[in-house]
Amino acid sequence: MIDKVVPDIATALSGIGDGSCIMIGGFGRAGQPVDLIDALIDSGVGDLTIVNNNAGNGDVGLARLIGLGRVRKIICSFPRQSDSWHFDEKYRAGQIELEIVPQGNLAERIRAAGAGIGAFFTPTGVGTEIAAGKEQRTIDGKEYILEYPIHADFALIQAFRGDQLGNLVYRRTARNFGPIMATAAKVTIAQVDEVVEVGALDPEAIVTPGLFVDRVVPVGYRPWLDETGAFIGGVDVNGEPLTTEGEDA
């Protein structure tokens, strides 16, 4: 029987070595595979190429991976943020390579990799700095630049529920990069809140068919959900528990 569920995070990450190209899902806290990223840090691998929308925030997760000097190159749309100091420092020191890509082109390049498209003409970025050195063409009176797919060795994504076949559903805007990154990597690893029985996910509503997923690891429901997966709230937008006014005082 096909069973893509692995018992623990360490097993889920097996095979990731120095020099790997890794896509990491998420936009803000939404869709971030936080447990997988933490384990990636613990694994000690380095010389990585990371594909993510951003370049880390604060001192945790991707920011920490960068701070520890494990990232050789990052492909992202928006590295500079108020709390991207680890990236900023490495970048200014010339210790990390940056490929900056407009967010929609980033998404489409990832999608192209998954769909076997060799390259595509996009209007985004025409006439801007990012068009420099790129092939440009006028098609039907409109200008486009040529962009190429982004493939990865591994994709680390977060989904809401999954099954043994690797079928995945997401939760609200946490869907973001997960479904396309799952298609673009040689090995896709999904952390899910819960593994459900095969057949429990509605075939009309499965967002990522299991074909795209290699390993599924359950990590328990995120802190703003109860043990059935229902929303209970009580956190801030980063998922941190709300401090009561009493505690602040």
């Binding site: 936009f27 803000g28 806290r29 939404a30 869709g31 929308n53 749309s77 928006f78 590295p79 500079r80 943020q81 991207s84 990236f87 900023d88 970048y91 200014r92 940056l98 900056i100 890509v101 407009p102 967010q103 929609g104 082109n105 980033l106 998404a107 489409e108 990832i110 999608r111 996009t122 209007p123 985004t124 970025g125 025409v126 006439g127 801007t128 700095e129 990012i130 997401y170 939760r171 609200r172 805007t173 946490a174 869907r175 973001n176 990069f177 997960g178 479904p179 396309i180 967002v207 995120r222 703003w224 929303f231 709230g233 009580g234 956190v235 801030d236 937008v237 980063n238 998922g239 709300l242």
Partner: protein, 218 residues
């Protein structure tokens, strides 16, 4: 009488131009104010490029859902009839011309409708584009909402942008605190002046030859 209107008044004025049933993306910052000033009874549908149509207002603090955020990574809600989708589908909607209006901020807008709003090009600055370039070409109409002048008194409407471009010939209209400017093949046309601002003052402030279209039929 004042020569300019407040940010809120400007949001209200811009909101009045968004038609019933429009699909709209409001960029990060001032443009988000527009959502609060849609005329009573008019239904518009908000798109957020991280993956939702039917975005609603901010939730109560204890109802914040980290999985339900906008492109500015702020907590939002979902209205009845909302739909979620992934990033490739979401940016495909914009690139494919399915949105009616994007409202964006700007550092500069040129007479040709070029937009600069992602980088001041300062030496050593770390670049960050995000969805800016996608938004700039992401709707049938791209409206810029901005003060006419920078804090240093420099006009944001210019003959040619000096900052790195976000998109070329992409802006259709500029809503400023002094006036509304339509981008035309002949340059900026002033369609509405606020307060007692005069045409001559606008030309003086911008250093541009402007078309007076305030008498034209709406």
């Amino acid at each position: 009488m004042a020569t300019k209107i407040s940010r809120v008044a400007l949001a209200k004025r811009l909101a009045a131009d968004i038609p019933e049933g429009a699909y709209v993306n409001l960029g990060i910052g001032a443009p988000t104010l527009v959502a609060d000033h849609i005329p009573e009874g008019r239904q518009i549908i908000l798109h957020t490029e991280n993956g939702m149509l039917g975005m609603g207002e901010a939730p109560e603090a204890d109802q914040v859902d980290p999985d339900l955020i906008n492109a500015g990574k702020q907590a939002v809600t979902a209205q009845p009839g909302a739909a979620f989708f992934h990033h490739a589908d979401s940016f495909g909607m914009m690139r494919g011309g399915h949105l009616d209006v994007c409202v964006l901020g700007a550092f500069e807008v040129s007479q040709a409708g070029d937009l600069a709003n992602w980088s001041t090009g300062a030496p050593g600055a770390i670049p960050a584009i995000g969805g800016a370039m996608d938004l700039a070409i992401g709707a049938k109409d791209v409206y810029v909402m901005t003060d006419l002048l920078t804090k240093d008194g420099q006009p944001k409407l210019v003959a040619e942008c000096s900052y790195p471009l976000t998109g070329v010939r992409c802006v259709s209209r500029v809503y400023t605190d002094h006036a509304i400017f339509q981008v035309t093949p002949e340059g900026f046309a002033v369609t509405e002046r606020f307060g007692d601002t005069t045409h001559a003052e606008l030309e003086s402030l911008t250093g541009l030859t402007l078309i007076d279209a305030t008498g034209a039929a709406a």
